[in-house]
């Protein structure tokens, strides 16, 4: 019982922290609080460490692949506008490449 009450209390406090951070305009703090809440749930409520070892492996595997999805999936969108076009600063480079067609 005590464990559950403590976890619940932590979650409520973190929720309050999130709201406060939003009020103050600290986006990063909101993210940190959200990640902490997830950790509290995984460790406190789901008790991943008390389950079979496979549970930890599967959870980490899912997290790893989630990272791949987010990182490589957004790579294109975040690099697309900054593709170098021969700007006015680089006329010589552009000229050097023009026989490439």
């Amino acid at each position: 019982m005590g464990r559950i009450a403590i976890c619940w209390g932590m979650l409520v406090l973190l929720l309050a922290a999130e709201l406060a951070a939003t009020w103050a305009g600290y986006g990063i703090a909101v993210c940190v609080a959200a990640v902490l809440m997830v950790l509290v749930i995984v460790l406190g409520f789901m008790q991943i460490l008390r389950g079979p070892k496979l549970a930890v492996i599967f959870a980490l595997g899912g997290l790893f692949w989630l990272t791949i999805l987010l990182a490589l999936g957004s790579l294109d969108s975040f690099t697309r506008t900054t593709v170098p076009v021969p700007g006015p600063a680089l006329p010589d480079r552009a000229a050097g490449l023009q026989e490439g067609g």
């Binding site: 490589l72 999936g73 294109d76």
Partner: protein, 541 residues
């Protein structure tokens, strides 16, 4: 002796409510054979249409529907499930030395999900039709298509849960249900391959699910996250779609590699050369396979950085595939090779997969891809992998385990003939398409410039041979069910645990739980146990 799983209780009800992995495998076998035939009819119509530059038999609209049907049915209702749900379902517990999969009820549910999804897809494809191609690119599929996008997309969504259920089942089974003494490095390579496949099932399929859900939302409400009218990005759809659909290629090919490893070892009577390399190459194909999807988008408007990163990873993924091919050749070296039908299929797989893999290098090369992508070169490339590779392995596996599944031998001569015919017909169908692609013939064209006709006619002729060759096994397998010679427990002199139980196996698989004491493919131990002198094996019928 306990009764075989086939006849223990013959009622229809006992089949439809079975939790026996072997019976579920047969239920799946029936369903995917139906879908294979349906997709094959689609392929036949495509090849007939392309006999004439102006289109021989179909209108543009009908052609577009037919190639969409061919793609959707073949990818999701045949290729993705094929080996895992039939041979995999049948063999995973047998190879592990277990009584069943970890979650037998979930296994049955996955079959029902599969059937439901198949019916939904068929409803969409036949009542109203669909003409977006199996890739469903937005905004064509979301705003412009007049076809039945929603039922098909929801069908595929359901199908995904069937895949996930199978994947979860296999992974947990392989972790938890290994017989005493069956360490990871004693697992047959088929299980390593299926494990890798299951990882992709579990971790890639949900992304397809959410992508199709977003598409359905956009289709339903005519507004959504990929809508260019709102400044949304249709390329994001492609990113998410290929996050699943490229690894899906490895879902299709990895189990085939597993089957080939088993067959090559048995028919060379030699342990697989470089066992650990082959095992880990399966895992690394699955892992690297997740980070190459962007190579489908080199001309789509993807950023330069993204294209370069994905091109580099795409080269990396071919390394473990090459490792496998050379290890199979190394296995053959110094073996005692028997050219039975399964081995012919396996060798066909090695050759055709190599062609498919090498042409994959063309498409991974950025500048070459710009010219070749979206043409028949791509069509030929992936058919070499999917049909030349995966379907050959599937047929090889069916021949190899047919005695175990049914308790009957198939007619060997016909098996060899069909294998040879498939190899020949396949090459005649698809090799001309490489040239067509280089010449610039775009894919998904209902009509084409007259200069491409000769090669198209050649390709269609090959397809005719291929069709005959694919019907042959259907006939002689059916015949063998009633007339085939009774199969002994271990007709090929193979080493796996599945050969240590009667053919067909009893419902509980093993009279007593087997204990494993040696590595996989230990023919010395086999001979010692069975008392057979080294005869080179061949005591089959």
């Amino acid at each position: 002796m306990a009764q075989s799983y086939l006849w223990q209780d013959g009622t229809l009800r006992s089949w439809l409510l079975t939790r026996d992995h072997k019976r579920i495998a047969l239920l799946y076998l029936g369903s995917i054979t139906f879908f294979f035939a349906l997709g094959g009819v689609g392929a036949a119509l495509i090849r007939l249409q392309l006999l004439e530059p102006t289109g021989a038999i179909l209108s543009d609209a009908a052609y577009n529907r037919v190639f969409t049907l061919h793609g959707v049915v073949m990818v999701w209702l045949f290729l993705v499930p094929s080996i895992p749900v039939t041979l995999g379902n049948f063999l995973v517990p047998l190879m592990l030395g277990a009584r069943d999969l970890a979650f037998p009820r979930l296994n049955l549910i996955s079959w029902y999900l599969f059937v439901a999804s198949g019916l939904l897809v068929l409803y969409g494809l036949f009542w109203g039709g669909l003409e977006t191609g199996w890739t469903f690119y937005t905004p064509l599929s979301s705003d412009y298509s007049e076809g039945r996008v929603l039922p098909v997309v929801l069908g595929i969504f359901l199908n995904g849960f069937s895949s996930i259920a199978t994947g979860v089942n296999f992974i947990v089974s392989i972790h938890q249900l290994r017989a005493p003494g069956m360490t990871w490095y004693r697992l047959p390579l088929m299980l390593w391959a299926l494990y890798a496949t299951s990882v992709i099932f579990v971790l890639a399929t949900p992304v397809l699910g959410i992508t199709l859900l977003l598409l359905a939302f956009e289709r339903l409400f005519r507004v959504g996250v990929f809508d260019p009218g709102l400044g949304g990005d249709p390329l994001l759809f492609q990113q998410m779609f290929w996050f699943y659909s490229h690894p899906a290629v490895y879902i299709m090919i990895l189990p085939g590699m597993g089957v080939v490893s088993e067959i090559v070892s048995t028919f060379c009577r030699k342990p697989v050369f470089g066992y650990r390399f082959v095992a880990w190459s399966s895992v690394s194909i699955a892992a690297i396979g997740f980070i190459v999807w962007g190579h489908h988008m080199f001309v789509a408007g993807e950023s330069l950085y993204s294209a370069i990163v994905f091109s580099m990873f795409s080269f990396f993924v071919s390394v473990p595939s090459a490792i496998k091919v050379f290890n199979w050749l190394g296995t053959m070296h110094g073996g005692a090779i028997r050219l039975d039908a399964p081995m012919l299929y396996a060798m066909g797989f090695i050759g055709l997969f190599t062609v498919g893999g090498l042409t994959g290098l063309f498409l991974a090369s950025l500048a070459a891809d710009v010219h070749l992508t979206q043409t028949y070169f791509v069509v030929a490339h992936f058919h070499y992998i999917m049909v030349g590779g995966m379907v050959s392995a599937y047929f090889g596996g069916l021949h190899y385990w047919w005695p175990k599944i049914t308790g009957r031998m198939y007619p060997e001569i016909w098996g060899r003939l069909a294998a040879a015919l498939i190899f020949f017909g396949f090459n005649l169908t698809f090799f001309p398409q490489f040239i067509l692609g280089f010449e610039g013939m775009p894919r998904r064209y209902a009509t084409y410039p007259a200069q491409f006709q000769i090669l198209n006619v050649l390709s269609s002729a090959g397809a005719g041979i291929l069709a005959v060759a694919y019907v042959m096994p259907l006939v002689y397998f059916g015949w063998s069910l009633f007339r085939g010679a009774r199969a002994p427990d271990n007709p090929w002199g193979a080493t796996g645990l599945e050969w240590r139980t009667p053919s067909p196996p009893p419902t509980e698989n093993f009279a007593e739980t087997p204990v494993v004491t040696t590595d996989a493919y230990d023919y010395g131990e086999l001979d010692a146990r069975t008392g057979v002198a080294d005869s080179g094996g061949a005591h089959h019928v």
